[in-house]
């Protein structure tokens, strides 16, 4: 055999042994699976609370109570302008001096929930305002109350428009659960990183990366379908 080919094979073997080490992967697989559970749990709780609170805020905003709306706009703007990691760090490292020590899970959940709340409020609000004024007037003139008009006439039309941007935003924010690793949360990245430092081998990171892909690729593919179905633009 040519010496070049021998070197290439040796290099390839070393690469596989380093990054796809079966022994190391087998050893840390349970850790990564545990981390995956934490990531899924966190992501589900963020999506439910974030979108739920966002919808509530948008509905409150529709009541058009001036001082309340200023407050909502201020909070939403603030949460859209701050990097999520800054909020997580502020809660985790800052709040203890105010007498409350939230766990890594709590800090990450609360931060990302607030961020998703802000973005979804904006999206819901944009959807609500996109419904023409005449629709409100027509519905009210048939005798529907404000609440009935909102729920039966405006929201069904508004929500259709919000689906595509909301899906995109939700994916981007739930991917942010990886930020929890900075505040000692044992989600996928956290588990993978500590496995790398324990084993002096990067294979657990590859395993962790694979776990993220397994979780999120289906979501992204579904999102792509939704996007074409409920296109935001013509």
């Amino acid at each position: 055999m040519h010496s070049g080919a021998v070197l290439a094979v040796a290099g390839w073997n070393k690469f596989v042994e380093t990054f796809f080490n079966a022994q190391v992967m087998a050893k840390y697989l349970p850790d990564i699976l545990y981390g995956t559970l934490v990531t899924v749990e966190l992501a589900v709780l963020i999506v439910i609370a974030g979108i739920g609170f966002g919808l509530v805020l948008a509905l409150v905003r529709a009541l058009a109570i001036r001082p309340l709306n200023w407050l909502i706009v201020f909070v939403v703007d603030l949460l859209r302008a701050l990097p999520p990691l800054v909020i997580i760090v502020l809660l985790y490292f800052g709040l203890p001096s105010a007498g409350w020590s939230p766990s890594g899970f709590m800090s990450t959940w609360l931060s990302l929930t607030l961020v998703l709340m802000a973005f979804s409020e904006e999206i819901f609000w944009a959807g609500i305002t996109s419904v023409h004024k005449g629709q409100w007037e027509a519905a009210r003139s048939t005798g529907l109350s404000f609440g009935q008009t909102l729920i039966h006439v405006v929201l069904p039309q508004a929500l259709r428009l919000t689906i595509a941007p909301l899906t995109n935003r939700t994916i981007a924010i739930t991917k942010g659960t990886a930020l929890g690793t900075v505040v000692a949360l044992h989600e996928i990245l956290g588990m993978a990183s500590s496995a790398v430092s324990n084993s002096y081998n990067p294979s657990p990171l590859i395993l962790g990366a694979a776990a993220y892909l397994v979780l999120f690729i289906p979501v992204v593919v579904v999102a792509r379908r939704i996007e074409t179905k409920f296109a935001w633009k013509k």
């Binding site: 690469f15 380093t18 990054f19 703007d77 603030l78 859209r80 302008a81 701050l82 990097p83 999520p84 990691l85 800054v86 909020i87 760090v89 502020l90 490292f93 800052g94 001096s97 105010a98 904006e122 609000w125 944009a126 959807g127 305002t129 996109s130 419904v131 023409h132 629709q135 039309q157 428009l161 994916i171 981007a172 991917k175 942010g176 659960t177 990886a178 930020l179 690793t181 900075v182 996928i188 990245l189 990183s193 790398v196 081998n201 990067p202 990171l205 590859i206 962790g208 990366a209 993220y212 892909l213 979780l215 999120f216 690729i217 979501v219 992204v220 593919v221 999102a223 792509r224 633009k233």
Partner: protein
Amino acid sequence: MEEIVANFFNAEIATAALPLVASGILNTILLSLMVIPLGLAAGLVLAVLAQSKNPLVRWPLMAWVDFFRAFPPLVLLVLLFAGLPFMGLELGGFACVAVAFMLNNSAYYGEVLRAGIDSVPNGQIEAARSTGLSSTQAMTYVVLPQAVRNVLPDLLSNTLEVVKLTSLGSVVAVPELLFAARQAQSTTFNATPIVMAAVIYYAMLWPLVRLLSRLENRALAGRH
């Protein structure tokens, strides 16, 4: 109340942390100035390639975009920062951020720009070509300016996210704003520097947030 002020809005600590935090601002700006053009350039390449009718080009592109939409940027960053040294390649935090965010953003900017190019009617390209412009010239002078204008809110929105994303640099020891604030916080045992960082991010990015909010509302107005 006094305790809150002492722990979160401590003027003495803010003054002491100021030089460190100021250098953090500078690095955040530098990092953004590096990452945004890299992402835009990579995204533009993807968007132009996506115009191809050849499935051998389209399918890998779609896979690339979906891959990076599914992959958390922090995981990508840690993979480069902690993984590459095992191959004897040590890039350093700054370069890792550049590469990781370029890959991540190629997908996001790429999708936005692709939608922009798709929004320009075919007749425009045909008209431009019939005047004697080459296809590259037609793309550069006719299609892209309109494409960018059509998706400007999405481009800006993504750019806002990119600037916020630079805070991940703190995880790989790039001395940007959040890293500087955390350093000051851990030496003073006081949260004031992190509050400072939050206020600075807010001050820098709030105008963009407001602008976006307006553009988004306008894009939706009158759609029913």
